[in-house]
């Protein structure tokens, strides 16, 4: 009798537990849609009443506080984000993929593990510390080396972002190389290929998709980074004409200005619309990377 009661209680507890497991499992969907919902909700009045899509994307004038005529053009901010990200990728892609190849193909045992730990530590440095380094250390170095009037500019932000996105490029890239079956390597070596020929002719084509995904994830990291670019790229809203011009990115604009705005005014809402744009860019990059990786898996299976 008592046994059956206990079993019934146990079953009840178990089904409650499983309910929690299911709810948690579905929570990721809830949060992604929640993020979209709340960002769009805060920016909605601006989206509906004031947003002029043409001006928003094509005007370089971001004058949210102007008393004469408020203008909300994010073209210059987009240009800032793109220039810093492009420079960062120019530096970090060769560095990251080179390191991925070296770690995956030339190292083994302790060397491999310690290099991976170094990258993990590099990835662990908080973004505000990177920004601090850009602001305090790189700034005078860049002024001294190039003679530019200000050292917080595209070059500074690009270098900092490159160092921040290298770890993810290396780790995803190394996974992609590891996923190439060993039989490919054995076949190439059996045909007399040197290690460079093996890498260049066999591994790179075979791991192409995974390496592309690595680069895409690096791009995503660089576009979304906030504190480092806020501190390292300067504060002028302009379309850069060279790498020594200071710029302002989308993320830095939100971080710098949201604190000064009041809930409900169009400046506040416009910042949430920028957030929506950022979210869409980030999702596009991530979904593409995900599809590219899935592409390799389905090819392997066939």
């Amino acid at each position: 009798m008592e046994n059956s009661v206990r079993r019934r209680v146990g079953l009840r507890a178990e089904s409650v537990m499983e309910l929690f497991v299911y709810l948690s499992g579905w929570s990721a969907i809830l949060f992604v849609f929640g993020i979209f919902f709340f960002i769009v909700r805060e920016g909605a009045p601006f989206l509906v009443h004031e947003l002029d899509l043409g001006e928003f994307f094509s005007s370089p004038n971001w004058r949210p506080d102007s008393e004469v005529r408020q203008q909300f053009g994010i073209y210059a901010l987009l240009a800032g984000t793109l220039s810093v990200t492009a420079l960062a990728m120019l530096l970090s892609v060769p560095l990251g993929l080179g390191a991925a190849i070296y770690i995956s193909e030339f190292c083994d045992g302790v060397t491999k593990e310690s290099l991976k730990i170094v990258l993990e530590l590099l990835a662990a440095i908080p973004s505000v510390v990177w920004g601090f380094i850009g602001y305090m250390v790189m700034n005078p170095i860049i002024i001294w080396a190039t003679g530019a009037p200000v050292g917080v500019n595209v070059l500074n932000g690009g270098i900092i972002l490159a160092l921040m996105s290298v770890p993810i490029i290396v780790s995803v890239g190394e996974d992609a190389l590891k996923a190439v079956p060993d039989s490919f390597r054995e076949a190439a070596v059996a045909l007399g290929a040197t290690r460079w020929q093996l890498i260049y002719r066999v591994l790179l084509p075979a791991a192409r998709n995974g390496l592309l995904a690595a680069v895409l994830l690096g791009v995503g990291r660089a576009i979304g980074e906030t504190m480092a670019v806020l501190m390292a790229t300067g504060h002028s809203v302009q379309i850069p004409s060279g790498i020594l011009d200071p710029v302002r990115t989308l993320t830095a604009t939100i971080a710098a200005e949201l604190g000064e705005t009041v809930e409900g005014e169009s400046h506040y809402q416009a910042l949430f619309v920028i957030g929506t744009v950022l979210m869409l860019i980030a999702m596009a990059v991530n979904i593409t990377a995900d599809l590219v990786v899935k592409g390799i898996r389905s090819e392997e299976r066939s």
């Binding site: 709810l23 499992g25 990721a28 560095l95 190849i101 662990a124 510390v129 576009i223 971080a255 949201l258």
Partner: protein, 310 residues
């Protein structure tokens, strides 16, 4: 890979290398050197940054610096108040994120079937991990500060950080669970145990260390993030008692708090008159905290790998 190295003949040995073979070996050597240089160029910034920051921070760094509150518009004193704030945020964010993240990992690895819904969840986890940190901040402002009525508070900031750490906890939990061999579960099912009993008594105990490693890693991430707490709960300055209960527990859940990462941002860009040594010392404390947590997680992982039984 060492077995793939080309055989080296003694000089003037049995056969002469052809011109092509010599060329191949030269390219090989150059490529190797280039890749080595690329890899080690990643070491330089890490060592350089850590070395330079510790060197600059040295004059100001002391136990007093860690355990004293900031004084005189943050120009004197230490980093105790922001440090405690960071502990608060990390603690409450993980308190919120861990159960949801671990259970979600359990769901994805143990319950979910391979269908469209699961693919949608996986896609959402990937996307959640890629959301820019400032967008998390906007979400926190919209959802927790305004909609849920928490205002700018420790709670709102902690929840915002929790949403940010969630996808990584889910992923690392799932990987830890996937490492438990299927035969363990089958053996348990054959004893008549239900699905949840199997998970509770076999799967979780065998993967708990892997799960913990992933969670510890998120401690360092939550401690270092600045953007998500900017508008959800971090504050420029709060007066914190210099002793007693208020020294150790200065913030209520509804209060705004200082945080180490935000403190570093403000004293290096907003407040004038802070000495460089103090700025570097604050950065050193933050990096030290984050790297110490990472070191714990890494050594835990290495230890576990050496102990692996299957």
């Amino acid at each position: 890979m060492s077995s793939l190295r080309a055989p080296i003949a003694p000089p003037g040995g049995v056969f002469q290398f052809t011109e092509m073979a010599v060329r191949k070996r030269k390219t090989e050597g150059r490529v190797r050197a280039l890749l080595l240089a690329l890899t080690f160029s990643l070491l330089i910034p890490l060592v350089g940054i850590l070395g330079y920051i510790s060197w600059q921070a040295w004059p100001a760094l002391s136990l007093d610096f860690v355990f004293q509150n900031p004084r005189n518009y943050m120009r004197e004193g230490g980093v105790w108040a922001p440090l405690v704030g960071t502990f608060y945020l990390v603690f409450f964010s993980l308190l919120a994120a861990t159960p949801i993240g671990v259970l979600a990992g359990v769901y994805l690895n143990e319950y979910a079937r391979d269908n469209w819904a699961t693919r949608l969840i996986n896609l959402c986890v990937v996307n959640l991990a890629g959301v820019p940190s400032i967008v998390h901040a906007l979400f926190g402002v919209g959802a927790f500060v305004h909609f849920a009525g928490m205002g700018r508070s420790v709670l709102a900031a902690a929840f915002t950080l929790a949403v940010m750490t969630l996808p990584v906890i889910i992923t690392s939990t799932r990987e830890a669970l996937a490492a438990v061999p299927m035969s363990f579960r089958e053996a348990c099912w054959n004893m008549g145990a239900s699905r949840w009993q199997t998970i509770r008594t076999i799967v979780l105990p065998n993967s708990i260390s892997g799960i913990l490693t992933g969670i510890i890693l998120q401690v360092s991430r939550a401690a270092g993030e600045t953007a998500p707490i900017l508008f959800t709960g971090a504050v420029f300055y709060v007066k914190v008692a210099d002793q007693g209960f208020g020294y150790y527990f200065p913030y209520g859940l509804g209060d705004r708090c200082m945080a180490l990462s935000y403190h570093l941002f403000t004293i290096s860009t907003q407040v004038t008159g802070v000495t460089e040594a103090q700025q570097y010392a604050t950065a050193a404390v933050l990096i030290g905290l984050v790297l110490a947590v990472n070191a714990v997680s890494i050594s835990f992982r290495v230890y576990l790998r050496s102990k692996k039984k299957w």
